[in-house]
């Protein structure tokens, strides 16, 4: 009986291991394919690659369209992630600490941009951005990406605030610190890792966002994913694979940073 049970368990766990392995491979193969095909000299996407070359990377880096798109993406990412983080921290404080009326509604609304179809958001934001006179400017994309990025800092900071009692802030105020001093000296240091992680996720979300950029930007405010998309419609060369690989590398680095930074904070 015992041995049968043991055999069943080990079979089951082996099956699960294989399943997880298969899923991971399923995810990783297309990603790795992009990276592999970017390192070849042929002028079309061929798989498996027959040689090794960094010519498409050189071309990618020398391309002024890509250069301005990278610059736009970084600027939009930094600005929108900053906005999203400030808004996310304030909203999380209101929801978790101030127990404002309608806190549940505010939470749902703050998380919604991560779940709702972005096309809906884009269709809604387009007339607003025209009305505000922002259409085609960096500002329009920054605001839209701030909306898309908001859920990340909101969720991470809510988690950090829920992990300790509001007694900390009350204690600080009982010791003579006003609300601002309490935020600066007590609350912020305790949620810092969550703020940084939220910022990084918002930044990464902006970096690979396409739909909103498609609706809201102009040729001068083109982001990197938008340029890639335009290029795909026009001609498919390994240069696109090189550009995609660069986006992938930057995003991966950001996510690794988001995971490692809180740990570094703890060691301090």
């Amino acid at each position: 009986m015992k041995t049968l049970e043991k055999t069943l368990w080990s079979t089951w766990s082996r099956f699960l291991t294989c399943l997880v392995g298969a899923v991971l491979i399923g995810f990783l193969v297309p990603i790795l394919t992009v990276v592999l095909v970017s390192f070849q000299s042929k002028s079309y996407l061929s798989f498996p690659p027959s040689d090794f070359s960094i010519r498409w990377y050189e071309q990618f880096l020398g391309n002024t369209d890509y250069q301005s798109a990278i610059w736009n993406s970084l600027a939009i990412g930094a600005a929108s992630a900053t906005l999203a983080t400030i808004a996310g921290v304030c909203t999380a404080l209101a929801v978790i600490r101030a127990a404002v009326p309608g806190a549940a509604v505010v939470s749902v609304l703050s998380v919604a941009p991560a779940v709702l179809p972005q096309i809906v958001l884009a269709i809604g934001l387009f007339p607003i951005s025209v009305w505000l006179g922002l259409q085609g400017t960096l500002g329009a994309v920054i605001l839209a990406h701030a909306v898309v990025g908001l859920p990340f800092p909101f969720i991470t900071v809510c988690g950090a605030l829920s992990s300790y009692s509001s007694r900390m802030e009350i204690a600080s105020m009982s010791l003579g610190a006003n609300a601002f001093q309490t935020f600066r000296l007590i609350t912020f240091p305790m949620i810092r890792a969550a703020v940084v992680a939220g910022f990084i996720f918002a930044f990464a979300a902006s970096l690979d966002e396409l739909v909103l950029a498609l609706f809201l930007s102009s040729p001068t405010t083109r982001t990197l994913p938008l340029l890639l998309w335009e290029q795909l419609n026009f001609q498919v060369t390994p240069e696109i694979a090189a550009a995609a690989s660069v986006v992938l590398a930057v995003t991966s680095l950001l996510i690794v940073a988001a995971i490692l930074l809180p740990r570094l904070g703890k060691d301090k």
């Binding site: 300790y164 009692s165 007694r167 900390m168 009350i170 204690a171 600080s172 105020m173 009982s174 010791l175 003579g176 610190a177 006003n178 001093q181 000296l185 007590i186 240091p189 305790m190």
Partner: protein, 376 residues
């Protein structure tokens, strides 16, 4: 009524740091139409150690929160040294507060935690260093200055919280169940430490706890709260010996309590004839008015067991139902023959004393002066 000596009697010695007098006037709090604290008034003298006890939900923490300033009162005043502080935010009240779970800042070291209130007040760096060292010395934690709170034991964290809440010499120290998270031995040790600390500082302390023994050990005066009201305020001895209600009698110490059917007429303070529900006649002291729903109360250590009991005002023959020898005391539960009433009894063991096993018959009795009349 006998009173314990008050801290204020000796506060002249500590005039440099003396505590503030607190006057709570018709202070109340309603949440969603429910009274958390009904309008409550109490005067707390300068240097007093004032404990508030009561079951959970009795409003004691709400009251403390209003004094500290993190709960807004619905109405009423909190006058500290002649000034109503209700309109003032928590950080301007200059009150020290010690929380149940210490609320030490986890990202700051022990020394930084203790320095925090001084840093906020813009005290120069070298003075902060000197006063932090002095304060940590007072709670015997000099060696732990550079540690994080998470590296300290519960008792040590509590002492850091005490040092942090007192380093800026607040005139009032509020404590919300500060020993609630500690084990029994540590709690006893910390009680003595808190008492010593308060006497050295001369600070006025308002101390919330649900532990009646802790309150009796520490406090000059105790307020017992129930359903948002202070049902009785007095010294530990006054509350124990002259409880004004069944609730107070049962909350503070043990008691055998019987419903009364009738009490004969007589002057206040005199022993009178009374009849318990069920028809048993007894003699009782009456400093309160008897009314419907009155009770007779006798404390377990006021009952005499053995032949001497026959001479007392209330003398009964009884059968021992439970007997228990514990270090320092013998406990009995005795049923009074022919009445169905049962009494809790506690006697101090003496060298030649007889120990009654369960089932034995005994004479028990008590003086009318020891039996008090209680309202519900």
């Amino acid at each position: 009524m006998l009173q314990m000596p008050r801290r204020s009697d000796t506060s002249a010695q500590n005039s440099s740091v003396g505590g503030a007098a607190v006057s709570i006037r018709a202070l109340s709090k309603r949440y969603n139409g429910l009274d958390a604290v009904v309008p409550t008034s109490v005067e707390i003298e300068s240097g007093d150690f004032f404990a508030i006890i009561g079951p959970s939900g009795s409003g004691k923490s709400t009251l403390l929160g209003m004094i500290a300033g993190y709960i807004d009162p619905t109405a009423g005043q909190i006058v500290i040294d002649g000034r109503d502080v209700v309109p003032e935010p928590i950080y301007r009240r200059n009150i020290g507060m010690v929380f149940q779970n210490y609320a030490l800042f986890p990202h700051l070291t022990v020394a930084q935690n203790v320095a925090y209130p001084l840093k906020i007040r813009g005290v120069p760096k070298d003075e902060i260093a000197r006063r932090v060292a002095e304060s940590l010395g007072m709670v015997r934690l000099e060696a732990f200055a550079a540690r994080l709170p998470s590296e300290l034991s519960g008792g040590q964290q509590q002492r850091v919280a005490l040092a942090r809440a007192s380093i800026y010499k607040p005139s009032i120290l509020l404590m919300d169940e500060p020993l609630g998270a500690l084990d029994k031995n540590l709690r006893d040790e910390m009680q003595e430490e808190i008492k010593r600390f308060q006497q050295e500082m001369g600070v006025t302390v308002i101390y919330v706890t649900h532990d009646q023994q802790e309150a009796a050990f520490l406090a000059d005066r105790i307020a017992i709260m129930r359903d948002g009201a202070m049902t009785q305020i007095g010294s530990p001895r006054a509350l124990y010996e002259h409880p004004n209600s069944r609730f107070v009698a049962e909350f503070l110490g043990e008691a055998s309590i019987f419903p009364l059917k009738s009490v004969s007429a007589g002057r206040a303070g005199e022993a009178r004839q009374a009849v318990l529900e069920g028809g048993t006649p007894i003699r009782i002291r009456t400093d309160a008015e008897a009314g419907p729903g009155s009770f007779a109360c006798i404390r377990p250590e006021r009952v005499t067991v053995g032949p001497k009991a026959k001479a007392l005002d209330n003398a009964f023959a009884g059968t021992v139902r439970e007997s228990l020898y514990t270090p320092g005391s013998i406990r009995y539960r005795v049923e009074l023959d022919g009445t169905g009433l049962s009494l809790k009894i506690r006697v101090l063991p003496q060298a030649d004393m007889e120990f009654y096993e369960a089932g034995s018959t005994v004479d028990i009795g008590w003086s009318a002066d020891d039996m008090s009349l209680l309202k519900e």
